[in-house]
Structures are given as C-alpha cells and as structure tokens.
C-alpha cells in the first residue's frame, strides 16, 4: 500500500482527490449518459467571474449606503442583489428538462478535429436561450425555442488513429445576465473513429495491369452508357439535370463500368517503413482509388477485403486501417 502511495507525485494526488470527490458527488446523481433528461440533481449553479466581481461591487455599495444611511442607494443595491439572486433560478430553469438524446460523430482522418454532434431536445416547457456545450471552455451555443431539437458541436483534436472517446463535457448556460453559471456534467459513451492520416507523398497507386499508370486518365473519361430513373443513393454528380428538367422526373446517368481489373492494395508491397507509415500510405491509396472510382481490394496482416468500390467499401477499408493492431 505504501509503495502505491509513494508512486504518485503530489500534484497527481491532489488531482486524483479532486477527481474522486467529483466522482463521488456525481455518482449519487443518477445516470448522466445519453439519452437522459437534465433534472434537479444534475445541475450546479455558481457565480461566474463577472458575477463575483459584481457581487463585490454590490457589497461595496451596500457598505457605503448603510454608512451614510442613504436609503435610495440601499434600495438600488437590494434590487440588484435580488435580481442577481433570481438569475440563479432562471439559469437553472434554462437547463432543467432539456433532454440529451444522442451523440454522433462521423469518422475523421487523424489530424482533423473529431466533430461530436450532441443532439439536445427542448421538450417544450419553456424556451431556452444560449445553452452552451464544451469540454473545458464552451465551444458551441444554441437557442432552443419550444419543441425543438438541435445539435451542439464539440470538436476534439485527434492525434492518433483508432477510437477517439469524447471525454465528459458540460452543458452550461449563463443566461440571462452572465452573473451565474449553471451547468451539468454529461458522461457520454460515444466515440469517433479516427482513420490514419493519409500519407502526403504516397507511392503511385498499384494497378493490376502491371503498373500502366497511363490508364488512370482513361478511367476518368467514362462514357455515359445511358439514362435510368433516379434511385435513392445515386450520387448527386450523376443526376442528369437537363434530362430531369425535361421529364419532370429525376434521371441518373448510367456509367460504363471500367473494365479494368481491380487494384490490389497490399500491405506486403510496402517494405522498408514502419507500421504507421504503411497504414498512412494504404489510407492514401484507398482515397485515391475511391476518387478514381476504381475497384480495389485490400490486404493487411490478419484481414483481407475483396475487390469492390463505393462509399461502404471505402469506409470498411479505412476502418480496418484505423483499428489495425500489429
């Protein structure tokens, strides 16, 4: 036991004590993992920095007014004090009853910020104003009119591939005067997939046809094969706008499938670099192949994907790379 305690540095001890107190205080207040509704026990109210300063000014004014028995000044002080006090309740009511529905984040490439979208619903007791969200500092702010649902965005920096957890964050408000801050901790169990950072100087895309890199251009100049009715899921670029306008119905261009063979994105073809660099290069290749609308297969130690193309395929490949464990 003594050895355990001895391992901690003083700073981390105090930090861990604070954390433990926080955990203990928060543990009694029920689940705070979405979806849940902010209730009385979740919400804390304390004066903001400005509120403290304002309070000191009021104290000073009250002292002067009492000393000179200046009753109008005293009335002003008491009115201001009462208003300030009332704003604690208003701030609390601005949060209580809000429902945190869910938190979503689209996968990002390493280095880009992970954007967590926190969906919050105002059930409709009253309007809410300037509800902010942030991990340390408030990052986003929204008004919530009656019966609305909106997303607050939390951006988290990413440095490594894999899952990026959203740490505990706060939903807070300083409505209406900024004198008091009401907040609630939220412990999300949501994470964002971070793809490997695509290599900037990746080797050229390996082509099945023995490295005929000249073919790449041919693939782009695809001939239009014909028109067909629009189906959900067709990319916007392929909608035949003119034809659609003529027929009052949406039409998509049917493209001629490239007749080339699929490229093989092979882990083993990359030699002489470490794991992360390999993953980066593979990611860059996936992007490039997808961009050129080529079919590609991928092969990494322990896993293989058959040749295919499209958004789902791309996502599958990138996820494999992101979660690769050597």
């Amino acid at each position: 036991m003594t050895t355990l305690a001895g391992q901690h540095q003083p700073r981390s001890i105090s930090k861990s004590i604070v954390n433990r107190i926080k955990q203990r205080v928060l543990a009694k207040r029920g689940p705070m993992t979405p979806p849940f509704e902010l209730a009385y026990r979740h919400i804390f109210v304390l004066p903001s920095k400005f509120g403290l300063g304002f309070g000191f000014m009021l104290l000073f004014m009250a002292l002067g007014a009492l000393n000179f028995n200046n009753n109008m000044a005293l009335i002003l002080v008491f009115l201001l004090g009462t208003i300030a006090q009332m704003t604690t309740l208003i701030a609390y009511r601005n949060l209580v009853g809000l429902r945190i529905d869910s938190i979503h984040a689209e996968p990002v490439f390493c280095g880009e910020p992970a954007l967590f979208r926190v969906f919050v619903t105002n059930g409709g007791e009253r309007q809410r104003f300037a509800v902010q969200a942030g991990v340390n500092e408030p990052q986003d702010c929204r008004d919530f009119p009656l019966h609305t649902s909106k997303a607050l965005q939390l951006a988290q920096p990413t440095n490594t591939r894999g899952w990026r957890e959203l740490p505990a964050f706060r939903l807070e408000t300083r409505f209406p005067l900024g004198l008091f801050k009401a907040w609630s901790w939220i412990f999300p169990q949501s994470r964002c997939l971070v793809y490997p950072r695509p290599a900037r100087k990746a080797p050229p895309l390996p082509r099945a046809g023995g490295g005929e890199s000249g073919n790449a251009h041919k693939g782009e100049g695809d001939q239009v094969h014909g028109l067909r009715k629009y189906q959900t899921g067709d990319p916007m670029q392929r909608v035949a706008w003119r034809a659609s306008a003529r027929h009052d119905e949406l039409y998509s261009l049917e493209m001629e499938k490239p007749q080339e063979e699929a490229c093989e994105l092979d882990w083993d073809s990359l030699t002489g670099c470490d794991v992360e660099t390999r993953l980066s290069i593979l990611a860059a290749w996936v992007i490039a192949a997808d961009h050129k609308q080529l079919a590609y297969s991928m092969n990494i130690p322990g896993e293989q994907v058959a040749a295919n193309s499209g958004a789902n395929h791309r996502a599958q490949c990138l996820e494999m790379l992101a979660l690769f464990k050597s």
Binding site: G53, A65, D143
Partner: protein, 665 residues
C-alpha cells in the same frame, strides 16, 4: 477573434451600454461645471461614431494623454479631488474615457456595472421622488446591456448566428419582469435589513459642498440666487393651531458684525449659549420639521425655540446650531413661544457689538440720522420714522436691483432705491445703529405654502428672507421687518406671488401650485423611504409586535433564518420533487396506483413490473377472499387502457373505491 467579428457582434450591446452610462451620468452632467460637460461627452460621441464607422480602439498613448487632460481640467475646476462633487465628477469622466477602449464583452460589463455604481452615488446629492424614474431607467437599461453582453459572449466566435431572435421587445419585457419580480423581495430586505445606528466612518467636512440654502454671511444681493430656487427647504407639520402668516418668520443665521458690505455672525457670539429659553408648557406652537439636507449647521425654528434637539446647541441669539453639518434629511420636533422675552438685559460687550459700525462708510445716512435723532428723541419713534421713510419715499421691491459699490446704504437710500429684503434689512439695521439703537440682522425664511391635502407648510428656498431685530431695555429684542414697510405683500402673499413679473421662462403660477401640491408625494417619500433609519425600523418592528429586536439580534435572526431556509430547502426539495414526479399525469395510472396501495395495505406487495393480469392472478392467489373483486378491477383497467371506447374510467374509479380487502395483521 478577427477584427471584423469584434466590431460587428452585437452593436446593440454597445449602444445599450452607452445608454446606461448616459442615463446614469445625466444628473451629474446637469450639476457639473459647464466646461467639464463637453470633455465628458466627447469620448461618448467618439465611441458612438466608432461603432458606426468601424474605427479601431484609440491607441494607449492617446488614451493616457486624454486622461491626463481630463483630470487636470477637473483638478483645476474643483481645486483638488476632495469633495463629493469632485469625486463623482472624476468617476463620470473616467467612465466616459473608458469608452475609448471599450470593445470587449468584459469592458462592456465593467462600464455597465460602474454605471450602476455611479447611479448609487447620485443619491448622495438627491433622494427626491423623481429619482425613482432615474432608478428605473438606469436599472432597466443596465439589465438590457448585460443581457446583450451575455448573448454576445455566448455566441462570440460561432459561425452560426443565434437562431432565436431575442428582439428588443423580448429583452425589454424580460428586464421589466426581472425588476417587478425583484421588487417585493428587495423592499422586504430594505425594511428588515439591520441598519447602523451610527455611521462607521463620517463624512469629512471638506467633502461637503454647502450646496443650498442660506450661508453664514450676508451682503446685499447674496441671497438673490435663492429666489430662483424652488427646491424645498423644509416642511413643517403643526399640531393644533397654525400661526398667522405674519408669525411665520423661520429663524436662521443671525448677523452682528458689519464691515461696510458684508454682515457676519461674530465668532464669539455664535459660541455663547443662551442663558434661558422659553418654557415648554408656554409654547404656543408645536410642530415637526422635516428639513432637507443643507450641509450647514442651522436648524430653522419659529421665534423662540423651546426645545433643543439632541446634537444641537442654542446660541445666545437663539439660533439652533447642530454639532455636525446636516447631510441627510432631518426630522425634529419643535415648540415655539413667540411671546418670549429675548434678553431683556444685554451685557455691555454685546450691547457694543450691536451698535458697532465701520468707520468711514455711509456719511450721508449718518448725517440724515443725526438730523432725525435731534427731532425724535424716543427710540420707538425713530423706528417708526425709518419705516415710514421706506414706505413713503419712492422705494421698490425688486429681485433685480442695481449693483451697489462702497457706500452701500447711502447709494441704496438716496440713489437706487431698488432692492429686496437684504437691502432693506441691511439699510435699516445700519440706520438703527447710527441712531444708537442696538440692532442686528436675522436671516431665514418667511411664509411658506400651506398644503391642504397634507396639512403642512412647505417652505421653499425662494422663501428666503432677511429682517432686523432691535433691542430696548426691558422688552429685549423685537423683530422689525423693513421689507414689509415697502412691500407688505411680500409678507402676506409670499416672495414669489408678490412679484409683478415672472422670474424665469417656466415661472407660471399654476405650475408652482401644481408643484406645491405634488410636494405631498415627496413628503411621504421622505417620511417612508428617505428618512427610514434604525429608529424607524425598530418602531416598525414594535408595531409588528417584534419589539425585542435590536439590530444585533436582527443580524443573528437573519443569519438563523437563512440557515433554516437553506436547511429546509435541502431537506424538502427532494421530497417536493419526488411528490411531483410520483403524482402521475394519467388519471388511469393514478387509479391503478391507488388500487396497488390498497393491495399493499392488505398485505400483498405489488411490483411495478407486473402486468394487470399477472398481478390479479398473484394477488388473487394470496388474498383468496378478494379474488373476484381483484379480477374485475384488473379486467376493467385493461379495458379502459386498451379499448377506451368500451371501458368507463368512472366505473373503474367506483370499483376501486368500493374495494376493501380485509386488513391483514
């Protein structure tokens, strides 16, 4: 934060902050020396222009220079930074200069908060009832400014604009609601909050500006400014009989020493205390005076005061002089006996002081008095002759007399013959002294306006007056008002009504009348709010039957009350919340819960996870005797719940009501 973003964000916030500052400094702008006003307004104008023309903040060097210039101007005007006017003017100037660098939310908040502080300092100068409007306006404007500052802070740096329009109307009504809701609590606090019976620190005397009322010297023309001033000097509420108009001479500073131009109170005489004062039981008039602060030391009374309030002394010439300058509204009870004999025997040094005249002044008057004295040896006849002279010669009562130079009395008596009370009193007193009759000058107020609604006499600064007193052995000092000999209407009608033309543009009789009537509100405000102190507070508590509270106990009681309230809310709040949540909205659920409670009492503990049928089977198994009833209720509940057209909730309610399973012991 980009430059453009910083300027474009919530212009309204900046404008409301400027409005708040403008409202808060408005009374000070009116009372400040005129040349400081443009210096104060300049930075505000700059900030307004900067807002619309997107100017950047002023460089720090320029700001420092502007500050130095402004403070120098202020120090040169006031001769230092001591004194309330100077200090508050400094605050106004600094706040105004602060606008040169006010661009961030933080600065907006600082300026708004300090504007509220400035607002509080204005009550050092006036606590009149009109200040309520001032309080409301500045408070509302400050609230709106803070609300905009908060919104700006919350949405600052976001690409998306706030999606709910909180427009001006929303903010205004919100601010108003805040104020109205705060009013009852604020006023309760005001009444209950313990007051200090004596201040912790006093007002330094050099901080006073002696802003209104009579002064401690008099030279002809010196109280001229007072005639323009319609602000109240004091209010007197009489018990019993009202004095007649000719008795309404409110005694103030008394002057003995004359240097040819100026009358002054002799230092010695002012510090001599009265040997005797009227007996209280013989006092004919009993009244209470509510006196506006003068920052001087005189209390005003009718002749002659029979009471000496605490903290005052009665001088030998019956001035009531306070130990401390009167900086707050002051109320004192007074009784007066007009029949009292003032010093029937005068000691020789005092007699000399009452006869002394400077050498080499007013030779013509001296010659005339010497001629008169030869013809009329009796003192009484001399007085009558002097008054008759004023009355019969071509003298005019006017508030705009020509200026007098060295021989003030000569010029007045023989050349200009125009003047008001000071001129007549001064000339008459000099004439009496030349004739060997002891005489002195008394200043104060004469008359007043009787407010029928409030049954009190309102005396305004414009009622200021000066008269003479002459002494004769045996009868003592007797009041003689030479102004009454010239303009009897001055005494009968009051100073303002006796004038032929208006004093200024807005000087209408009906307006003054309306103001006199309106003063009733001001008096009530004074009584109930401005003069509310620890004494009135304890009196209020006594009326409520809490006479045992003094302020120390009150502090303890308040702290105890807050603790009890906090503890109660901690204990009760979860309970209240539980109650609220357990009281289900759906009437069917409430009925079902009631049924479950009844089963519980009978000894069958229900489980929320049980469906109605399951519950009925289990409960029926356990409570066999009630099997039938339980099943019927469960079936009806299911019917009501899932087929509302067939089930009748009223029937279910009746069934559950009539369900009485035998209690299990």
């Amino acid at each position: 934060m980009s430059k453009a973003g910083r300027f474009s964000l919530d212009r309204l916030g900046i404008l409301w902050m400027i409005a708040t500052l403008g409202i808060s400094m408005f009374p000070q702008l009116l009372s400040m020396p005129v040349h400081l006003v443009p210096i104060t307004l300049l930075p505000i104008a700059w900030r307004l222009l900067a807002e619309f023309r997107h100017w950047p903040p002023v460089p720090i060097i320029l700001r420092i220079i502007a500050t130095i210039i402004a403070v120098t101007a202020l120090v040169m005007t006031f001769g230092g930074l001591m004194g309330r006017s100077a200090a508050v003017s400094l605050l106004v100037l600094m706040l105004s200069l602060k606008l040169l660098e006010t661009f961030s939310v933080r600065d907006v908040r600082v300026v708004t908060s300090l504007s509220l502080f400035l607002c509080a300092t204005q009550f050092l100068f006036s606590q009149g009832i009109m200040m309520i409007i001032y309080i409301i306006a500045s408070l509302l404007s400050a609230l709106i400014s803070l609300m905009y500052a908060h919104r700006r802070e919350a949405f600052e740096g976001l690409s998306e604009a706030p999606d709910t329009g909180r427009d001006l109307f929303t903010e205004l009504s919100f601010g108003m609601r805040l104020m109205v809701l705060a009013l009852p609590i604020g006023l309760t606090l005001f009444m209950l909050f313990p007051r200090w019976s004596s201040p912790l620190w006093g007002v330094p005397e050099d901080a006073l500006d002696a802003r209104s009322g009579l002064s401690d010297s008099m030279s002809p023309g010196s109280i001229q400014g007072l005639f323009m001033d319609d602000s109240p000097a004091f209010r007197a509420t009489f018990q019993g009989s009202l004095p007649s108009r000719s008795d309404l001479y409110w005694r103030g500073p008394v002057f003995w020493d004359f240097d040819g131009t100026t009358w002054k109170a002799g230092y010695l005489i002012r510090n001599l205390l009265a040997d005797s004062k009227p007996e209280l039981k013989r006092a004919q008039f009993r009244y209470e005076i509510q006196m506006e602060p003068t920052e001087q030391r005189w209390l005003f009374t009718l002749d002659y005061p029979a009471l000496v309030p605490t903290g005052t002394r009665l001088s030998m010439d019956y001035q009531l002089i306070t130990n401390q300058p009167i900086t707050q509204l002051r109320t004192y009870a007074m009784a007066s006996d007009p029949g009292f004999r003032d010093n029937p025997d005068l000691k020789l040094p005092l007699l000399r002081a009452a006869l002394e005249l400077p050498q080499g002044f007013n030779p013509r008057t001296a010659r005339m008095i010497a001629e008169w004295r030869a013809e009329t040896p009796s003192d009484g006849a001399m007085i009558q002759r002097a008054l008759a002279y004023f009355n019969q010669q071509n003298f005019h009562y006017t508030l705009n007399p020509p200026l007098l130079s060295r021989h003030t009395v000569d010029e007045f008596l023989f050349n200009t013959r125009q003047g008001f009370c000071e001129h007549y009193a001064s000339a008459f007193t000099v004439m009496m002294r030349m004739a060997g009759i002891p005489a002195r000058i008394v200043t104060g107020y004469q008359g007043g306006w009787y407010n029928n609604l409030g049954s009190y006499i309102l005396v305004r600064q414009s009622d200021a007056h000066a008269w003479s007193e002459v002494w004769s052995k045996g009868t003592g000092w007797i009041r003689v008002d030479p102004t009454a000999a010239v303009a009897p209407e001055r005494v009968e009608q009051g100073s303002v009504d006796s004038l032929a033309q208006r004093r200024h543009m807005l000087d209408f009789a009906w307006l003054l009348h309306a103001r006199n009537t309106f003063d009733l509100l001001q008096r009530g405000w004074n009584n109930w709010v401005v003069a509310f102190d620890s004494v009135k507070q304890s009196r209020l508590f006594t009326n409520f039957g809490w006479g045992f509270f003094d302020s120390m106990k009150l502090v303890i009681a308040m702290i105890a009350g807050i603790l009890v309230a906090a503890a109660a809310s901690f204990l009760l709040m979860p309970l209240i919340l539980k109650l609220r949540s357990s009281r289900h909205q759906d009437p069917l659920v409430r009925l079902w819960q009631k049924f479950n409670r009844k089963l519980g009492k009978a000894g069958f503990t229900t489980n929320p996870s049980m469906g109605p049928r399951e519950l009925a089977t289990m409960a029926g198994g356990q409570l066999k005797y009630a099997d039938e009833g339980i099943n019927r209720i469960a079936e009806l509940y299911i019917l009501c719940r899932y087929s509302p057209t067939d089930g009748d909730p009223a029937e279910l309610a009746a069934l559950i009501k009539g369900f009485h399973p035998p209690q299990q012991s």
